[in-house]
């Protein structure tokens, strides 16, 4: 398994020690799926939701958005009306 790839995808920077530990965990998880694969799932609909709750919908009605003054309090994050983050476009 290419852990480096997933680190990149999740924008994480793992230490060597963390990498070792997580690599082992993930390998165990993937191996467990190999066990699950043995179950016969013929004629069984894929399950995408397990909680059994019913979808609740809302009316298309406006609600109050966040107070901008509140946002402005964090000057490091909220700068001249915009959220400001370190640029991440590579190369």
């Amino acid at each position: 398994m290419d852990l480096k790839k997933y680190e990149k995808l999740a924008a994480l920077n793992l230490s060597e020690e963390e990498e070792k530990r997580i690599s082992k965990d993930l390998t165990d998880i993937i191996n467990y799926f190999e066990v699950l694969k043995e179950v016969n799932t013929d004629n069984i609909e894929p399950l995408v939701y397990t909680k059994g709750a019913k979808l609740f919908m809302r009316k298309d009605e406006k609600q109050k958005s966040l107070d901008k003054e509140l946002l402005k309090k964090n000057r490091e994050l909220f700068n001249s009306n915009f959220y400001r983050v370190k640029k991440i476009i590579g190369d």
Binding site: L9, V48, Y49, A53, M57, D60, K62, Q63, L66, F82
Partner: protein, 479 residues
């Protein structure tokens, strides 16, 4: 054997709801940055999405209008990728079972009709918008406006049935007409309410060529230009023995060329998984049936009916049915006057010209069905000539006065009194001895000139039929 292009479209249609897909923030375009944001669309921890029922209604409506099957159970998924304008680190979208599957649109091109199949239509949320100040490669920060984050979209994916730039263009045009007929989207490409990505490859024979994606096409013209350029580029490359690289390109609006876009291809791994915060969306047959009943007659159907029912030309029917407002205007006037051909003619020639030149919509003009009837009645009763009718129409459009009011005020009543016309003709014959003798020598072309003189003297009010009949009689008498 010729190279044949294979083209598929992915179109994002912004659904015209008042609020976002999962929260009550406004979707208003052009609002001050970051004013329409809340914990849900900012992806703050603990905030939960609640689906907007209008999004489901519009998605169902659009799916049905595109001849699609509405799936009675569809599911939401998380599409994971890391980008600053995506606050949660994933986009909520639909994946394995979208709200609508398998449909088509039939487009008209210069080569005839063509059915373009649609694979799927799914509802999802839009991302925010990154703004970079100055040079993108130099600036240290990205600035983000989250007003667009969570705006509802329906993504329409076609099969790769498209073979020319024209077909792609016509598909988009028809899709825009359709969403506007339905009222489910403004369809404004300039405002990002309709966005188009294309996939294109060229090949000889059955095996498909390497696929290139062109992203962020933001006008109908761009789609056409980008495709024309790209089809040619791929064919020329292959003819020279070159290879097509699988990549994402964009259109350089200045040169009309497509150029490779810098992307990290290896990062294209979205790790979809079911959205645990949203149970599946289930729709009943009754619900789908109820939505079906709200779908109006669609552009193609209307066009065909206009040709059959009113006998107007195919071109006019196509143009009139392009907008539901113009179509309704036409039909009302056609019914009231009983003269659909005349109505279509004045509408497409004079009224549309006025509308385009003055940046108005058909709903804003005061010249409606009633005024149309008045104008056509004035022609019928020979009160005014067709020529005068045009200027009365133009005057009515710009001043808002009724046709009869204008005819009255300006004294435009056609002169049908033969005595009065005879008097003018006698004058014209007297004042133009040369053309008259030319006519007598057999040069019949001078008739046009002499009629012109009569019209000039009567300020266009002489009934042309009566005038030319009398003129010929008088000239022949001189022989």
């Amino acid at each position: 054997m010729e190279y044949k292009p294979t083209i598929g479209l992915e179109i994002h249609v912004q659904l015209a709801t008042k609020t976002k897909i999962f929260c009550g923030c406004s979707t208003e375009f052009g609002a001050e940055p970051n004013t329409n944001v809340c914990p849900v669309c900012l992806g703050l921890p603990g905030a939960l999405p609640v689906l907007n029922e209008k999004v489901v209604e519009y998605g169902t409506k659009l799916g049905l209008a595109l001849n699609m099957r509405i799936n009675k159970t569809s599911t939401f998924y998380r599409k994971n990728y890391f980008y600053p304008d995506l606050p949660k680190g994933y986009q909520i979208t639909q994946y394995s079972i979208p709200i609508a599957s398998e449909g088509f649109l039939e487009v008209k091109t210069s080569k005839g009709k063509k059915k373009i199949r649609i694979l799927r239509g799914h509802i999802e949320e839009d991302s925010g918008k990154s703004i970079h100040t100055g040079d993108i490669t130099e600036s240290e920060y990205s600035y983000i406006d989250f007003n667009r984050s969570g705006v509802p979209l329906m993504e329409i994916v076609t099969y790769p049935d498209i073979e020319t730039a024209e077909e792609a263009y016509e598909f988009l045009v028809l899709l825009r007409k359709t969403v506007r007929y339905l009222g489910v989207s403004s369809g404004d490409m300039e405002k990002g309410a309709l966005r188009c990505d294309v996939n294109i490859s060229v090949s000889k024979g059955e095996t498909l060529g390497t696929k290139v994606e062109i992203k962020n096409l933001n006008s109908f013209r761009s789609v056409r230009r980008a495709l024309e350029f790209e089809i040619n580029r791929q064919i020329e490359t292959l003819k020279k023995g070159g290879k097509i690289v699988q990549e994402t390109r964009h259109l350089d609006e200045r040169t009309g060329e497509t150029k490779p876009m810098r992307t990290k291809e290896e990062l294209n791994d979205y790790r979809y998984f079911p959205e645990p915060d949203l149970p599946p969306l289930t729709l009943t047959d009754e619900y789908i049936e109820k939505i079906k009943e709200t779908i109006p007659e669609l552009p193609n159907e209307k066009e065909e009916r206009f040709i059959k029912e009113y006998g107007i030309s195919e071109d006019y029917a196509h143009e009139i049915a392009a907008s539901i407002e113009v179509a309704e205007y036409f039909e009302e006037a056609a019914k009231l006057t009983g003269k659909p051909k005349e109505v279509s003619n004045y509408l497409m020639v004079n009224i549309m010209k006025f509308i385009n030149e003055n940046g108005k919509s058909i709903k804003e003009i005061t010249f409606g069905a009633k005024e149309f009837k008045e104008l056509l009645d004035l022609i019928d009763s020979k009160t005014i000539s067709k020529n005068i009718a045009k200027s009365v129409l133009e005057e009515s459009l710009s001043s808002g006065k009724t046709p009869s009011q204008i005819v009255e005020e300006k004294g435009l009543k056609q002169i049908t009194d033969t005595g009065e016309i005879e008097k003018v003709i006698d004058e014209v014959i007297k004042e133009n001895p040369k053309p008259v003798s030319q006519y007598l020598e057999g040069k019949k072309q001078v008739m046009g000139f002499l009629i012109g003189q009569i019209m000039k003297k009567t300020r266009g009010k002489a009934n042309p039929k009566i005038a030319s009949k009398i003129l010929i009689e008088k000239l022949n008498a001189l022989k």
